[in-house]
Amino acid sequence: MNISKRWWVHTAFAACSSFGAFFGVGYVHADDAIKMPPLSASADPSSCVHHEALASDEPLPGQSLYNLKVELTDQYGKTLSLGAFRGQAVLMAMFYSSCTSICPMLIAQLQRVEALLPEAQRANTPLLLVSLDPEHDTPARLLELEKRHGVDGKRWHFTRANDADVRKIAALLGVRYRKLPEGGIAHSAVIAVLDRDGVLVTRIEGTGGDPKTISAAVLSATAKQAAPKPH
């Protein structure tokens, strides 16, 4: 991709995000999402995906992961920004769909964490999973993964991004990985809890730890929401 094209995409996306934030456009869920046209530089707000319902228009803290402007595509083919869930505590992890050992364990651990959350909190805690294998993980395969694990697609977002952006997200989360010549990806398993501004507040390596540690981190990251909300 040449520079000018990439620049356009970023600019268009940034324009969409700020538009959504400004008008307080509601979060559109997959079930009622219309099929989105490809991202273009158009100023027409209907070409934007509005995940910014909870987004604050306050500047991001310097430590916020949401400073990274990347575009993710979820299992329903919808595009969203990394900061789509600003305003909520977020559970984040990286995986790939053809991974048969650590990734199912990672998802199982996230399910245990979820089960420990009080119901109201659970409904308000998105899980953002980013594939390390964008080459193979199409939205269709990501949707299969959602079905296979029987998780709630309203809260579980299985996403892909381009290779360069995946490397950046991994760098932010401290996920180490390497594509193997014979196929597959070696990677470290990391579960991250982001606060409502996207600051990484808890980072757990591995899938065997006590899920209570993580659910407690989610609760404490959410407690910060007690701060007065921008109308």
Binding site: P181, E182, I185, H187, S188
Partner: protein, 277 residues
């Protein structure tokens, strides 16, 4: 007499052809990408110090373009001038730590401690990546960087040359008070300068040090490599400098900046370039 002159001319012509053929064989392909001078490196195979998997000892590296020198302070100043979010003081702390460009006099002033042609250092992986992307390039992968760095001035793989190894190691033992300007050393066979003896360089996949597929023993993501008998698993235990590079990379975080840590950019072999004659 006439016959002898003919012979001399023929011999001279053959010698000239032979010499130019040899020279062509070793003359690097040169091009410019977004104003930065690049040379073609590879294709080739690189044997990592540690096998990426038990069954793989070599990786194929496709031909790629690599900047013939590290990115300089002057290059980076031009970049931050047009990319305000990467200026010192403005950059998000998640992308660069507090020492980012701290040797510059100001956000847009190099000052006495940063000569224009010195390699830029005190830059994070995120900042290096952003610079390369702004120039239509990317950071080289570890395999690409190592393939380029294996070349001595005369051979594609100079690592068996005692003199080449010694020259590399001398850097680690020679204290220096300041960084030399770029293209300070002799170019290698591909026409690349300063891969050794000046700075450490970021690579795209600096965070690739995972011990095993699916890495279930989480405590061991780096321990297997560096603790105890880890070195017994290495493929070439004489290549001390390679050990140091592996150890260095695996200790890095993407927002980290260091006084001798800089970078250069690379691009895929097929990337459209303004080729030079």
């Amino acid at each position: 007499m006439r016959a002898r002159w003919n012979t001399v001319l023929v011999v001279a012509a053959i010698s000239w052809l032979a010499v130019s053929a040899l020279a062509n064989d070793h003359r690097p392909a040169v091009a410019r990408i977004a104003g930065l001078s690049v040379v073609e490196v590879g294709a080739g195979t690189w044997k990592p110090l540690y096998r990426p998997t038990p069954t793989t000892s070599e990786l194929h590296v496709a031909a790629f373009w690599l900047m013939d020198r590290p990115v300089t302070n002057m290059d980076f100043l031009a970049f931050v001038s047009s990319h305000a979010t990467y200026r010192r003081g403005a950059v998000a702390s998640v992308f660069a730590d507090e020492r980012y460009l701290s040797h510059w006099q100001g956000a847009l002033v190099l000052g006495a401690a940063a000569r224009p042609n010195q390699p830029v250092t005190q830059v994070s992986w995120f900042a290096a990546t952003a610079f390369c992307e702004a120039h239509g390039m990317r950071l080289p992968t570890e395999a690409e960087w190592e393939l380029a760095a294996a070349a001595s001035p005369t051979r594609k793989d100079g690592r068996s040359e005692a003199r080449f190894r010694k020259a590399i190691l001398d850097w680690y033992t020679t204290p220096r008070s300041e960084l030399p300007d770029v293209t300070h050393g002799e170019p290698n066979l591909y026409g690349v300068h300063d891969l050794h003896g000046v700075i450490w360089e970021w690579v795209e996949d600096f965070n690739n040090a995972v011990v095993m597929a699916d890495s279930r023993n989480q405590g061991d993501t780096s321990g297997d490599r560096f603790c105890g008998g880890g070195s017994l698993l290495a493929q070439d235990t004489l290549d001390y400098a390679a050990f140091m590079r592996v150890a260095m990379r695996s200790s890095l975080e993407a927002s980290y900046t260091g006084a001798i840590l800089g970078f250069r950019c690379a691009a895929d072999g097929g990337t459209a370039t303004e080729k030079l004659p």
